[in-house]
């Protein structure tokens, strides 16, 4: 069970949250200009790393806000929790 520190509510049990998958996937500004392959890359292709993963989580049973988490997908250890728009330390975006 993960213990996740919601930036607003503090440390809560994982059951209160919903995982929203990979973070920092920017919606293309001009979808009509993209090829099918580029659109498919945006819609479907994912990093799915074995190791550090930057993800988005929602505190669905609490404040219902979205935030980001840097978590290791092997140990499940959470390295950083950061708000949307912030950059976690040690990561170049």
């Amino acid at each position: 069970m993960l213990l996740i520190e919601c930036p607003w509510c503090g440390e809560r049990s994982q059951q209160e949250f919903t995982c929203g998958g990979e973070a920092h996937i920017a919606r293309p500004a001009a979808p009509d200009a993209l090829s099918d392959a580029d659109w498919a890359d945006y819609l479907f292709m994912r990093k799915n790393p074995k190791g550090r993963h930057l993800e988005q989580w929602c505190h669905t049973a609490g404040c219902r806000r979205w935030f980001n988490v840097a978590r290791d997908t092997v140990s499940y250890e959470i390295a950083h929790v950061y708000k949307v728009g912030e950059t976690p330390p040690g990561v170049s975006e």
């Binding site: 993960l2 998958g21 099918d36 498919a40 819609l43 799915n48 993800e55 140990s75 499940y76």
Partner: protein
């Protein structure tokens, strides 16, 4: 390969069972093979077996970073069925089903395939409409599929809670009589023994660390046991698909999630079929050893740790207890997890990658075990001839670009 039979059993008994032949060798890697299969699970070993048996390609190596069958093949809930909705998937899983039906004889290895039926329960009107549609689709594709009423379910499974004032009452079910369970370890070992007997080298403790390419074509793989050359490489590693594809610079639409399962203490025979429920989420069968084998939905976060959160176990056991009140005092013995490679349409990716000679068989997600022989059979065809078989042609990586997705989330039967 010395054939297993009543005669070999008697002969070996006379020498106190000290002379049984090793089921597969542990050779050193050769410098080059005609084909390399990365991944020594059920699907990879089946691929190697059918490459040798159906295509005469036996200069093959199966590279497994751990021990064969130690990944998802050793961690699933052993259910076998082919009652999927769409034509493309129905035909693929039914190919596997037909191979299952002769597999023990073909491999000369008892995979304990028990066709005790698989029941998918419906708990509301929409469930029943979906079930009725799928049953009809199955029948149109020549796949055995029956529509059951509440009374049918209760008659076939007396211990089930068919009360109509339950929170999610059982309104009916689909039933595939030819479905059932098989012994997962036996599948890995049977295919390994069969492949080895035909000349395939099974190399365990051999982790692939890189895929070497020249001019856009694969030339071999870097491994923990040295470089091994081949112009045909098939990636079939389930949860680690993105890692291996990444070694060739390829992105996949796959996310790896934990999938958990658990078994109870052994009980006398009490459950004679396989029951699955989408709404009251869980699926259960009873092994020949007497354990209740129970499976759950995936943990919603990405995970390579082969373990998940206990809340999944709690809610799954609650669902099982709701369906089978008689199990409320049963003690659970063991729980574990695997790494399932989940695809956006809950269907696999079996075909070529944008690197010449490189093939992938991935994305089976929560439903790979039932397809094991079929998956190996079509992947062997694809690698041998360099082109997909009609059965796996719809399951290309390109479908995510063309939009020709095949949505099997309903029939997958496991919450994503």
């Amino acid at each position: 390969m010395r054939k297993y039979s009543i005669f070999s059993l008697v002969r070996n008994a006379l020498s106190y069972h000290q002379n049984w032949q090793q089921a597969w060798r542990s050779p050193d890697p050769k410098p080059q093979y005609d084909a390399i299969i990365i991944g020594g699970g059920g699907h990879g070993l089946a691929t190697a077996y059918y490459l040798a048996k159906e295509h005469g390609i036996s200069n093959v190596a199966v590279l497994e970073k751990g021990w064969i069958g130690g990944g998802n093949t050793g961690r699933n809930t052993t259910i076998v069925r082919s009652n999927y909705l769409w034509d493309e998937s129905a035909h693929l899983y039914e190919k596997a089903m037909k191979l299952w039906e002769g597999l023990s004889q073909d491999l000369n290895f008892n995979v304990m395939f028990s066709q005790r039926g698989v029941m998918n329960l419906g708990h509301n009107l929409q469930d029943m409409r979906d079930i009725e549609r799928r049953v009809n689709a199955n029948r149109l594709n020549g796949i055995d599929s029956d529509l059951l009423t509440t009374q049918d379910v209760k008659r076939m499974v007396p211990i089930i809670n068919a009360a109509q004032d339950a929170r999610y009452p059982i309104l009916g079910a689909s039933f595939q009589p030819r479905g059932g369970v098989a012994r997962h370890d036996a599948v890995a070992w049977g295919f390994a023994r069969g492949a080895d007997a035909r000349g395939v080298d099974i190399l365990q403790n051999c982790e692939v660390t890189g895929i070497r390419r020249q001019n856009g074509a694969v030339v071999g793989v870097e491994t923990s046991r040295g470089f091994i050359a081949s112009r045909k490489v098939g990636i079939v590693v389930a949860g680690h698909s993105s890692v291996l594809a990444g070694m060739a610079g390829v992105r996949l639409p796959i996310e790896s999630h934990p999938l958990q399962a658990l078994v109870s203490e052994p009980l006398k025979p009490v459950l004679h079929t396989v029951i699955m429920s989408n709404a009251v989420h869980g699926y259960i069968s009873q092994s020949d050893k007497g354990d209740l084998v129970i499976g759950a939905g995936i943990d919603s976060f990405n995970g390579y740790g082969q373990r998940g959160s206990f809340s999944i176990i709690e809610s799954t056991v609650a669902a099982i207890k709701e369906l089978f009140p008689i199990f409320s005092r049963v003690r659970m013995n063991r729980q574990w997890g695997g790494i399932v490679d989940v695809c956006p349409d809950a269907c696999p990716i079996i075909g070529k990658l944008p690197v010449k000679g490189l093939y992938i068989n991935a994305g089976w997600g929560t439903g790979g075990f039932k397809a094991t022989p079929g998956s190996g059979w079509v992947f062997a065809h694809t690698i041998a001839g360099g082109e997909p078989h009609p059965l796996n042609a719809p399951f290309s990586l390109e479908r995510f670009t063309t939009g020709a997705l095949i949505d099997e989330h309903g029939a997958a039967g496991v919450a994503h």
